[in-house]
Symmetry: C3
Subunit: 341 residues, 3 copies
């Protein structure tokens, strides 16, 4: 497939810069772009893109002139996403139930589903229309998977859990394992039955090897539009709001409630039984140790306002100097004291 | 199923408070409880439970009166666990070997086992009585799984590893992968064969996507009654004592020996080749970097006594103020010095 | 199998110490060694090994005399590795395609491969000579696995990814899941298609439950000889150089380039879009937050030179004392000021 630059400009609602209308055969990042590819660039990468092998570049709307054929758009990243979709042939998946798949009694399969080799769907589960279960997926008893969803190879959904429409779950993710709940009697830990479930709402994406534990009673919930990176852990009875980002290695402890549009950066987390307001951002490696008000930008552990953390970090770096300064004061003071006698 | 409150009180060895004996049909947390449910509450949640929709509440023994029908018991959490068990129908699993399961030569299967769809049991492995292998589990050559155990979908046990009685292993856990051992010769890393195994003793629970590496020689060991949360990593030749709690993202490096009743909170860890005494607690995100004596409560990295860590954290927060204070002293001292001349 | 000590000495190019030539039947660590085993010891473990039950000990070349039969070699750890290989019977794996395995159309299988029970190889994939796919492995469409490689049970390789020769991938590892890329428009996150792949070069070992995301465009790359421990995460478009060590829970964010011979210790990481030079070492729990020059030893977060970090840590521990010192200065200064009036 190839498209004229002007055709691509029309698709992304952009304007062609320069007098050429080259044919574009692919899409790539700046480093890997070949002479028939289009790429995109925002500052500070505009010069690098200009010097690349790419045939054309998608650039921001305030660029008046550019040394290469270019498309000027309001948001180059959004335009690049559209062009990626244009050049990416949709993955074709054979529909139907593979002969090696095992489908239990009372299972409701929607139309146009794919249940691929060695997938297992337990009794009374339900799979929505157009949903794809890759090989080695497991959907437990009475679990439900919404329509237009993809479970990649080796995803496990325990009994009774519910996933929404257009969910994407990557390989090795585990939805609905038991919460970590025990009562300790005379030094021995006895399991508290975990009889709740997990509810994943619509348009959620869950990364590889993520774990989401089922609730003790009630539900662990991930609300619509939230995106979860690889190797994240959500404990029992956690509630994550809408449109959040949870980056790799984030861990949220039991019963914590997270608002909407919250970002946890990599290797961050929150202790259990706290409430985190809407629009909060937690820096990498931070750990929330108490309730956090909406619109906070927190860092460190225990997490505190980022500005405060920066100031403390800067002070800590000047600490060896401060010590020397205090030693010097000490000497000068001793000299004065001696003099005063 | 429904039970009178007085019947439940008898089960949990508690005393009914208030003149009513309502019928209870379910059990739930405070937020989700409906008008036929029982819940439990300890301070500071007693008022919240009293205002909930629950039909009745399990409360501590020192509560004399309560606005709702209640059961007074010594330990409400333990009583709640018993009531959860009462109302949770046991999961019924078809016994026997599913026709799609693959069972090798020389395998010993106990009585009443379930080897579910697409499970694989390699040659010479042994599975104890009443044990359940969910779909996509893999039990390697000559590995042994004790009786009354559950391996959830997608658990992998490598060759030669041994799990005790009543072990529960959640999906995606990997028991017995090679330890991370290499010798570096002229900048290239050569694999050290990892010929030991893993021994998991009785009554251990292992969370989803946990990894426990096999020993170089000898065994990596988790002793009886220890509970391991999701996404924990135990390296080769680690020994974890009895009745420990290892919370999510804990990492214990090679050859470290951990005593009994030790708690590692989330995102904590220990370097290799150290010894950690009984009854230690490691705070979230802490990292033990040397031997730790028994009964220690440690925090930070490198981990140190929690009180010391708290003191240092508090001091660090006052550091910007300290800097101002030193500047002020400096000025006053300079003034005095000038005056003295 | 049993060997004379002198035979083992010849194999490891060492010299027998002491007048005996005992028969050795096995190899073990110091603690577990029995009376027919050989072990190895370097300082400070020489006395412990001498007091062990072992029949013989491999010791460093500068040891002149030893209380037990011993072999003196330049590098005892390397010699021990050779002896481990000598005494470890190679794992025998049935070759061929198991009747329950599912192999797609257009798949190229090399000679002497093993495709074990319930493995799935999708259309147009290629598996090199002598490679072993354990049960429940998944090799996606048009993916290629080099020769002499091992994919342990439950490994997933997404479509189009390429693994080199002599790669070892442990259970639960996921190669090629989608990168975590979204564009946010009016508060909603839209998926950026991830159309690149993952390239793993020769002689790489990947631990259990590791995740390596496919590139947005182009490739996420792990270069030859690098060894990756369990539960590590590499984001889209990351490049890891040759002969690196990435220890458990290391996370490298998107597009970061890591040089050769770099070591990331446990629970460490790097933010996205930075460059890390050759021969760097990152201490446990550290986090690189900007470019790092070659040959750096960094610690802390944000990561800084280890010496600087040590100095700051030491200063932080003296901080409560410093505060007292400043209080004392304050008092003495006030006294002087009063006196001066």
């Amino acid at each position: 497939m190839a498209k004229r630059l002007s055709e691509i400009a029309a698709l992304v609602e952009g304007m062609v810069l320069g007098g050429y209308d080259p044919e574009i055969a692919g899409v790539s990042n700046i480093e890997d772009a070949g002479p028939r590819d289009i790429t995109f660039a925002v500052p500070p990468h505009l010069d690098k893109a200009a010097a690349s092998k790419a045939a054309a570049v998608i650039v921001p709307g305030d660029i008046a002139a550019y040394p290469k054929p270019a498309i000027r758009v309001a948001n180059p990243r959004v335009a690049f996403t559209k062009v990626l979709e244009l050049f990416t042939p949709p993955t074709v998946v054979s529909r139907g139930v593979h002969p090696t798949a095992v489908v239990g009694r009372g299972v409701r399969l929607g139309s146009n589903v794919a249940v691929m080799a060695h997938a297992v769907v337990a009794d009374d589960a339900a799979i929505g229309d157009n949903t794809v279960l890759y090989p080695h997926t497991y959907v437990g008893e009475a679990a439900t998977i919404g329509g237009d969803s993809i479970l990649y190879p080796g995803v496990t959904v325990y009994a009774g859990c519910r996933l929404g429409e257009r969910t994407i779950v990557h390989s090795g993710a585990v939805i609905g394992s038991d919460g970590f709940g025990f009562v300790t009697i005379e030094g021995r830990h006895h399991k508290v039955p975990q009889v709740g479930n997990v509810i994943i709402e619509d348009d959620v994406e869950i990364g590889a090897n993520v774990t989401v534990d089922r609730a003790t009673t009630g539900s662990t919930v991930v609300r619509r539009g939230t995106k979860i990176d690889n190797l994240v852990h959500l404990a029992h009875n956690v509630v994550i709001g809408e449109n959040c980002f949870l980056v790799a290695f984030t861990g949220i402890a039991g019963s914590t409630k997270v608002g909407n549009n919250v970002i946890f950066a990599g290797q961050s987390g929150a202790v259990g039984h706290i409430t985190i307001g809407d629009n909060c951002i937690f820096a990498g490696k931070s750990g929330a140790a108490g309730d956090v008000p909406p619109n906070s930008f927190y860092a460190g552990f225990p997490a505190r306002p980022h500005k405060e953390w920066l100031r403390a970090e800067a002070a800590a770096r000047r600490l060896p100097d401060l010590m020397k300064q205090v030693q010097a004061l000490e000497k000068r003071l001793a000299a004065l004291e001696k003099q005063g006698k």
